[in-house]
Symmetry: C2
């Protein structure tokens, strides 16, 4: 362990670390740990666990990573713990489709996918990647019984989801009680000082804290982060709700999605998805409130920050330029209607204009083309007999006159 000279005082560190946090158990203990770490020049050990059965990340997952990065930037040691032991077991009942049992090879591949995405945010040099199979594979049956003796059934049933399922007479298998204990034991094995997690992990993080006490390890502080809302601003961000920004989305997609969020959600994304300091965030808010800053410019800046993080500054600059060229310079609205179509070949332009609602009939579409009022992907349509091939993945803006637009998306 190298000695660290911290740039910020413990009190200053705590203030930064509280950005966006839902719950910290406890502030006093956290300050105590920061002070001790500061005076001993010894970084704190920050644990965050990830489930390698879902390697495909969206920016909602990066809320935690941003908090990890904050700790890392402050000088602490961040441990990225991959729960491969449990992932390789999966859900033995087979009832839970989101928990398929993974092979060693699948875990390795998923962990690499994770790492590729994670190291867009964290500094690989300063990040410890660990696997809980390292200690759990050595765990004997009697170790397990001892572990299970540390918690009561009643306390486990206090966990929100268990409590709801138990009351609704939905079955809870006994191994589901063991998973929080394994996750908690990871904190014993790692001797973590702090564990980060989403608010949905609060119970599990507290189990870790409790188990550390019973196993004679100094108990960790727990710090929970909000579950990020999706683009709709209401539901939590998720792939299945199609309200997400993927970590591996293209720069154009990432930027485009960002431009669509509400002004309120934009501020939330600033807080949770960027490393803007508490002070800068306060300035930004007050400037927006006073009208000194324009929301649209602020959103462009957010889009730039996000693309920059995941694709680098050149891609970010490009995305802004392209946005300006299409929307700002051409006077396109950023909330134009969208329409999804299946791929097709040889589609007649006039039929398409009618289907998109840009003409009431194919005759009207023909007249619009003759009047040079139709633009397809930025160029005027001249031929009213034009046949188009629509391929999966295309996004085309179709314009009729000066005020009618549709963004056409071809879905595979």
């Amino acid at each position: 362990m190298t000695m660290v000279k911290f740039a910020l005082t413990p009190e200053e560190q705590l203030q930064e670390l509280l950005k966006g946090v839902v719950d910290l158990v406890s502030k006093e203990e956290m300050l105590g740990k920061l002070k001790k770490s500061y005076s001993e020049k010894k970084p704190l050990r920050i644990k965050t666990g990830f489930d390698p059965s879902r390697p495909d990340l969206h920016v909602g997952h990066t809320v935690l990573m941003n908090k990890m990065k904050q700790f890392q930037d402050l000088g602490h040691e961040v441990i990225f713990l991959i729960g491969d032991f449990t992932a390789m077991i999966g859900d033995p009942t087979g009832k839970n489709e989101t928990r398929p049992a993974l092979t060693v090879e699948e875990v390795r591949i998923n962990a690499e996918t994770y790492a590729r995405q994670v190291f867009k945010i964290l500094d690989p040099e300063k990040t410890v990647v660990d696997y809980n199979s390292r200690w759990m594979n050595k765990f004997s049956a009697s170790d397990f019984i001892r572990l299970a003796s540390q918690y009561t059934v009643a306390r486990m049933l206090e966990r929100d989801d268990f409590s709801k399922r138990y009351k609704a007479q939905e079955s809870i298998c006994i191994h589901e009680f063991l998973y929080p204990l394994v996750q908690g034991y990871d904190s014993v094995a790692l001797k973590s000082d702090v564990e980060l997690g989403g608010t949905d992990q609060r119970f599990n993080l507290l189990v870790g804290r409790d188990l550390q006490k019973t196993y004679g390890v100094s108990p960790q502080c727990i710090l929970t982060m909000p579950i990020l809302e999706g683009l709709d601003g209401v539901q939590k961000m998720s792939k299945s709700l199609d309200n997400y920004i993927g970590v591996e989305d293209s720069p154009r997609e990432m930027f485009g999605k960002t431009m669509k969020v509400s002004d309120e959600l934009m501020l939330r994304y600033y807080e949770l998805l960027t490393d803007m300091s508490v002070a800068d965030l306060a300035t930004l808010k007050s400037e927006l409130a006073s009208g000194k800053r324009h929301p649209r410019d602020t959103k462009v800046q957010l889009g730039h920050l996000l693309v920059n993080r995941f694709h680098g500054s050149a891609a970010a600059d490009n995305a802004v330029e392209e946005f300006n060229r299409i929307f700002v310079d051409k006077g396109l609205p950023d909330d134009m209607p969208e329409m999804d179509l299946a791929p097709a070949k040889g589609v007649w332009i006039c039929q398409l204009l009618k289907d998109l609602g840009l003409a009431k009939s194919t005759s009207e579409a023909r007249r619009s083309i003759q009047g040079r009022a139709i633009e397809w992907a930025g160029s005027k349509v001249e031929d009213e007999q034009l046949k188009l091939d629509l391929s999966a993945g295309q996004e085309i803006i179709v314009k009729s006159g000066k005020k009618k637009f549709v963004k056409l998306r071809i879905k595979g």
Copy 2:
């Protein structure tokens, strides 16, 4: 596996096996197993588990062993399973004093003590002794999670004692849910056809049956035996209630205690503690009812059977002879009052007679001795100054006149 020629038909076997049974799950399956075994000349595998943390047996524990012996006598294979894996873990919370963690050495000693007592009933040549540590020590953490996934919390909470404790808000530790699963897994490992247990084990035996199904092993029948009442005929037999006959009690104690049970309890003991056939038991009952048999003689016969089993026929004959000499020949009642005294030296006979309630005062005692009315251990007392040494373990009948008796017991 040697081929077995069974003396009784499957139907006859089933009838014998039902003697004293509380519950059999299920009679149809059991008959099916017996038929298959009969036609294939292949013995059934009968599992009975014992907890090696309490090696000191009373005859209440032998109810199960008698049922094992019955299976053995019919030609089946009896497995005496010692639950050493769980015994070596004990109760990790330390709350349960009756479950201390045992060392390998303690388990070995207790298992030998068990075997010594058990083989007074079972044929050692025909009995398989096994230890569940054989497979449980190889169990990995992931094997454990798979095992735990086979049962739900709700079903486990249906177990009588768990259900009561949960409702009373008494704590149940999670490892307590694992013990029935381990016991059940033993049936998977042993591929048992039948498991025997007391009625208090019914739930655990059913877990074994369920787990065999999920692990692809033919499910065992379960057969529960009653918990034997103690000498009082009401409470269950237990050391702490001092209403027991110990397997290692002396022949005299064993016989004497047997003679004290009620006529009703005598029949219960015949049913559960001897290998009398169902037919003979029916005859005995009808002869008692018709007065053809005297209850006292029947009790003497029971005492003889028990002493014979645990100490051999010579000791049994002796016990009957001694009983006849003291009680029958001398016309002593078999329900005379008893009094316990501590060991002492130089006790004056007259003071003792007063203390035993055989005289109202030492003067009256003196007059009784002068009148040659006092008998000490079968001989007349002549000296009214007699000093007696009372040593631990003695049992002395003291008689005053023809009708007053006290059995004096000197307790160590």
